[in-house]
Symmetry: C4
Subunit: 253 residues, 4 copies
């Protein structure tokens, strides 16, 4: 496989679908939300995306079989207004140019399914432990900004100051050039830890927007586990036990 | 979008146009001058350039809408001899090969508009705070060197010693191979700070060359703000307050 | 040569061949095993693979002639059930995309010879000196996992936790997408040293699986040499003689 | 320019030409020799090679005009057996794949001119200041090794141990695959300094091999200047004046 390749297993007919993207990123916030949605809604996998822009790597499963790293698209037939497409995966592109190529592929698929709107989920790393449950937003047109304010999404001028990097950013940016509506929902997070609490905040807002109900328990459990770890880290810090590096912190979870 | 793409909004007829390039670089000198020109002359945007050689990034605007990073070309219809094309942007290419590709695209556009000459603007970082307002020049033929000396541009043998890197350099170098006249005007600057004062020096020379008048106030204000910051930095240095790194200095502005 | 190129010297007819891959990697375990097999079985070289994804480098031989870095495929006609193809080489790809391309080429060749199964050999670096002779396995379908357990290959859920990276991983992962059976046999090793002892462990298991007999003496000798070095390193450590870096340790052997 | 491009100015007929390559590398030994040859023989430039694999950079000349970084081929019509082609340049490829592409272009040109043999010149960095004038050799067939021993070229088994990297290595390696005879002549040098003395040693051997005479004075002068610098460095070292880093040493010359 020398080119990005789509393997299709199902070709569902979907009703005015909304695409939710939750690829790995800051605090794994988007990934946690999207994988939780797939799990709780019982969404069905409809295609897999393989690409030389992903790392040359396989993942070893529970039963010692392997699978090539990939992105996956799941479909959920809703009784509400919009069916859902959910994009999850092991990795984002390892190169700049690969990001452009892969997001073009994602948008081709979105157009094929006549996706009405994309929600790109992610984390917004602020460099310190975060108490509040803020979901920061950005969108590729002003109407969406206005609309999402109604759901409690916070919008701050020019924030994130460093822009939005990777798949979430490009889905909005390339989407705009192709006339596809897209918004980014970013859970504010430290950026040091996998953050299921921030993921909960994003999920709550997303459920309101999509008018769906999803059991939160699994995320709540992960969040309370993580809080214990954070409490321990804080003790260590106060007791001056050295925490070697951010890298170690990122590892936890 | 997998290839560099030009989105055109206007197709103006221009009179013997001169192309001014001011993409981000050392001290953001070129960018400051070119953006100031666009602003003060009220130049009109005629096209946008998107490319997978730019970072996979969107910029969040004031109103929380985003736009994909890009380069932009503005046109200004002058009453003088030459109309102007002004090239500005968020980023230069992130790869060597991308620099060659993008500058080829810039030159294609220049040839399309029958551009008579290119002025590539930039900074020349000398590694220490600079008092004087020197504009160093280089050009892709000797007649231009002679001509620009008349306008106070300084030419020093083999300087910059490290050559000219990036879009400014390639516009001259690739331009020479295609028979397009081009000169580089480099404001001497520390290289550590965004330098609106050096930008002023370049702008003054450029206005003389182009026989145009441009209000300098906005740049002057930024320059005097920056001087206050520099003064503070000097105090800190004398008081031995540590300034952590060049990286931090670059950040200011 | 701008593309990956195959130079063929022989076109043997092979009986239900099995492909053994032993390219350089952790502890050079796979490479040691595969090169030992080629040597002891007197396998014949049938093709060479050159690629711009390898380093731009030639190797100087004993007689001061050079050869371009490459991968090589050897064939061995067995009296048992399966003939063997053995893939060895100086380097793996230097880029991610190159890994995908080269493994696609390897699989093209495997399909051409109607390879029944691939055994990708490697080391599993655990970060500390290892006493036991464990061979960890992973495979691209569950039947192979069950089958290899019979030969003493150890399977641990989700291990290696970081997945399998490079040619060994991709042969399994891309193999699965093309319906080619493949297993990875990983000698557990420190990851710091070339490890002929771990290579012996892998070789023993592989010989049982393939139902072949191979003289182990050369590997045993290298292993006992290496044990002397390790003993010395341990003494130095205890005597607090500093061992400068892992890099140095990797070098030995 | 998006592809490697050859600009031809002359198309000479050459008699059984030998190609001498002296691109920048360790100690700039090859470059010093090749540029000295061009100068002293009055060789004529016949073509220029531009490539996106070179840095995106122009060089500023004495008269403040610029030129794009490039490689150049010079021709010298000899009264002896072989005319000469001399390959010099500002840079080698900045990427691995570019090295393969550019050396393929060099070999295309060599085949076009029916080049009988290539001498790739370079330095062999041994990591310490060198007193003797050794020229180490390697070749892409054994007959050349035997032949060059007659001229005092030293051949050591498996040396350089790290192989030969870059254009010199690939000219031999890719040359072998295309049936083009090629040898590498490496002046032993510290690797820290531009080394005109080592260049002299290589030039002497090369002149004997090619049966030509070349005035050495310019190189001798540079060598004696460099010796003064080295003497100073040694004094500093003995007086414990710190020489900050290898990087600084490399800079000199």
């Amino acid at each position: 496989m020398i080119k990005t390749t789509i393997l299709r297993s199902k070709r569902p007919r979907l009703k005015d679908p909304v695409l939710v993207e939750g690829l790995p990123g800051v605090g794994h916030v988007g990934k946690l939300v999207a994988e939780h949605l797939v799990e709780e809604l019982g969404a069905k996998k409809i295609l897999e995306i393989y690409s030389p822009h992903f790392p040359p790597q396989v993942i070893v499963e529970n039963d010692s079989t392997i699978r090539l790293v990939r992105n996956e698209l799941y479909a959920y037939k809703s009784k509400k207004k919009h069916d859902l497409l959910i994009l999850v995966g092991d990795h984002q592109s390892t190169t700049n140019e690969g990001h452009y190529e892969l997001c073009s592929v994602f948008l081709d698929i979105a157009e094929e399914f006549k996706v009405k709107r994309i929600y790109a989920l992610g984390g917004y790393g602020v460099g310190q432990l975060v108490e509040t449950e803020t979901v920061l937003g950005a969108a590729n047109n002003l109407d969406i900004v206005r609309e999402l304010k109604e759901y409690g999404v916070e919008f701050r001028a020019n924030e994130p100051g460093g822009g939005i990097v990777g798949a979430s950013g490009l889905l909005l940016g390339l989407g705009a050039l192709r006339g596809v509506e897209a918004a980014c929902l970013m859970g504010v997070t430290s950026g040091y830890l996998v953050d299921p609490k921030s993921a909960q905040a994003v999920l709550k807002v997303l459920c309101k927007i999509l008018d769906i109900e999803v059991d939160m328990q699994a995320l709540e459990e992960r969040a309370s586990e993580m809080e214990k770890i954070v409490a321990k880290l804080r003790e260590m810090e106060e007791g001056k036990s050295p925490i070697s590096s951010e890298e170690d912190l990122r590892y936890i979870g």
